[in-house]
Symmetry: C2
Subunit: 196 residues, 2 copies
DNA sequence: AAATTGGGAAACCGATCTGTCTCCCAAAAT
DNA sequence: ATTTTGGGAGACAGATCGGTTTCCCAATTT
């Protein structure tokens, strides 16, 4: 096993445990035991647990981004179809057997004011997602793509939290129904949207 | 100081620290130090840290409920006005100097699968909030109060998370704009809402 | 005035945390 | 074949965790 794949495997294992059990309550020893990696090896890749957390969050960021965007672009042809498909993909994800909410929302809760790096990684992820929705909104021909992106992004957040905390399996469909209305208002509307 | 107020003060202090710093990273010693209460006294009120967490969450539940509902009922006369006022009250709360997101969303992230009691307290809180929105929706004359409550509740969740994680101070207004559209669709609509 | 009691301060306990260090062996390099 | 090296196993250190216990004093009770 090469250096690189060993490192990747460690990050993957850590990520899985962080998702399942949270960050503070997942000890280094448990991660190493599960990954079959020694402490010595880990600490020459990451100087602290926090660095491992950063790596896990960044890994999730890029994995999720690729998966999500690929699925959306495969599911819809036009930008408008893709905006709608986003709700279906999100719904699928929320119904997967191991759904523990959004890891960035969870991380933000655990590191409310302690670790600015973690907060920024979370914020940046959300901003990346927003920009993608903004791009699709613009391509779909919205007069006010900014407003539409704000609304659709907020709906996705609401769906994730509702599915997770309220344990409402219909959250994705609820969000989709609202989303349809938002998209119609911005794309089919009588063109007097304000520009907020 | 009576027994009762000492206990209340301890719970209040714990609640504040849990909100600021999370549950796992807030140690017993810090809570006691801040509250000016000895360990001995605490442990004859609560048999464990987890019981203190339960008490703090329940206290927040009842405090929030009273505050939120009073404000809403003071801000709007008709049920429909109150549904709209809900977004304003939420927006005010999210703009307060010490806003750390929703403590129940945060708790659900930290205790993803470890503590069923905590999960239930969080779920119950959200359900209580949903029922309140449902009641207002029904009073407002919605054909499908269930559907409207689902949508408005999801919007509130989305606003909270967007304000917290994306640090978007406009989240409340975004949610309100969508909410207006939802309410119009359910109350002014052409009465062919499906009953999902 | 003497006895009782509630509770603060803090020592203490065992477990667990992050992070370092040593020992040792297998595989690669020479 | 001998040397070097990467890395696993795990002991260890120091801090901190939740939780128990002791000690002691001030306030109340009798």
């Amino acid at each position: 096993m090469t250096q690189l794949s060993r490192r990747e495997h460690l990050v993957d294992t850590a990520l899985g445990l962080f998702q399942e059990s949270g960050f503070h309550s997942t000890g280094i020893d448990r991660i190493l035991n599960e990954a079959g990696v020694s402490k010595k090896t880990m600490y020459q890749h990451f100087h602290s647990k926090e660095e491992l957390i950063y790596a896990a969050l960044r890994k999730y960021d890029s994995t999720f981004r690729n998966y999500y965007m690929n699925m959306i672009e495969k599911s819809g042809r036009t930008p408008r179809e893709r905006l709608m498909a986003m709700f279906d993909i999100t719904d699928e994800w929320m119904h997967s057997d191991r759904f523990y909410g959004c890891i960035f929302i969870n991380a933000m809760g655990e590191y409310a004011q302690e670790d600015q790096t973690i907060r920024n990684i979370c914020k940046d992820f959300k901003h990346m997602l927003w920009r993608y929705i903004y791009k699709l909104s613009k391509e779909a021909g919205a007069d006010n793509p900014n407003g539409l992106a704000n609304e659709l992004h907020l709906l996705i957040e609401g769906a994730i939290v509702t599915a997770h905390v309220s344990q409402n399996v219909g959250a994705g469909e609820i969000a989709k129904r609202i989303g349809e209305r938002c998209i119609a208002a911005y794309l089919d509307g009588d063109k007097k949207q304000d520009s907020r």
